[in-house]
């Protein structure tokens, strides 16, 4: 019997198979990054003697179980929260050593002395819903960002960025080392002008 040469394998369907795999990976690929509100929790150990804070330097925000908002003991709508917080932080009512030379607020004596002293206290109930809590956190962060933006643009107009964008640029891994080293001290200066002092009380079980 004559020796038959092995028939060639038809490779025409190879492309189809490869396409199939390709489409599978295309569909399963997720190139996404999460984003959210960064917060820092207070450490667990109890302070032996809590620092004395004057009542006027505390901005109290309470959310009850019906998701109602109580700002400085007054029922408030959430859309007013940002401007109230800005007014409180930017008040700069202090005199002498506690004076705030960059504040543009009303310098009301019954409100905060200095952004460095001003504390926002956020208290929530166990029955408060998470989305409302996040909305409030968002508005409080927005208040800080608004003021930081203002100061950053005032101090460093040559950069042409506001604080949030500058921070974004600083955190972006594509920014060159020189640029980020240049931005870092500037960001820190503005951060220290309006430090985020947001205290979260232990949850209340009642009310």
């Amino acid at each position: 019997m004559a020796k038959r040469s092995a028939p060639e394998v038809n490779a025409g369907s190879m492309a189809d198979i490869a396409f199939l795999l390709l489409i599978f990976f295309l569909v399963t690929t997720t190139i996404e990054t999460d984003s959210g509100l960064n917060r820092k929790l207070p450490p667990m150990e109890d302070q032996v003697d809590p620092p004395i804070i004057r009542e006027k330097n505390i901005f109290t925000v309470v959310v009850n179980k019906n998701d109602q908002l109580l700002v400085e003991e007054e029922l408030t709508d959430i859309k007013d929260l940002r401007s109230l917080a800005v007014a409180f932080l930017d008040n700069g009512g202090g005199v002498g050593e506690e004076a705030c030379d960059y504040c543009q607020g009303e310098r009301d004596e019954s409100s905060s002395d200095n952004p460095d002293k001003a504390i926002i206290s956020l208290k929530n109930n166990r029955e408060t819903s998470y989305k409302v809590y996040i909305a409030i956190q968002n508005e409080l962060v927005a208040a800080y960002n608004e003021l930081r933006d203002r100061e950053f643009s005032r101090l460093y107009p040559s950069i042409g960025l506001n604080f949030v964008d500058a921070q974004k640029k600083y955190n972006d891994p594509r920014t060159s080392v020189n640029d980020s080293e240049d931005l870092k001290p500037k960001i820190d200066v503005v951060k220290n002008m309006f430090p985020q002092k947001l205290s979260e009380a232990e949850p209340s079980k009642t009310n």
């Binding site: 490779a11 190879m14 492309a15 490869a18 396409f19 795999l21 390709l22 990976f25 295309l26 399963t28 690929t29 997720t30 190139i31 990054t33 999460d34 984003s35 959210g36 509100l37 960064n38 917060r39 820092k40 929790l41 207070p42 450490p43 667990m44 998701d67 959430i78 859309k79 929530n124 109930n125 166990r126 029955e127 408060t128 819903s129 998470y130 989305k131 409302v132 809590y133 996040i134 909305a135 956190q137 968002n138 508005e139 962060v141 927005a142 960002n145 949030v164 921070q167 974004k168 955190n171 891994p173 949850p203």
Partner: protein, 160 residues
Amino acid sequence: MSKFKKKKGGDLPAISTASLPDIVFMLLFFFMVATVMRDSTLMVVNKLPAADQVQKLDKKDRVMYIYAGKPSSRYLDKYGTSAKIQLNDKFATVRDVGAFILAERAAKRQELQNVLTTALKVDSDTKMGLVQDIKQELRKVSALKINYTTRLGDYTQNIN
């Protein structure tokens, strides 16, 4: 004179598709390398609340995820409708959170162990009580950097 007969017709030769598999394979390998499969399947409803003052959570190797929310529809019969915590692929109680964080932290590289962030992916309809409990547990194991993961949007979407 047949030797010099002109070739008849201007038919274009068929384009060879022999290199098509190569091209497709090249694309295939790219996507295979770039793909990050979701490492845990969600067992809870996870509709994140909206916020716009967000910061990006880059560097996935520095993040630990905690999910919370109502069990999704296929687990409803078994686990009920109250909000639950999901760690990795399992439902967990508040007490497991500390151990989970310690285990996750130990699994990371030494130099990253101090810069870890805990991403809280909590469903928007959850009550704060559960979140508060998780936060207390995180404080106990001093995992203080947290991130409330949100989706980008106006805060008014949260209120209705």
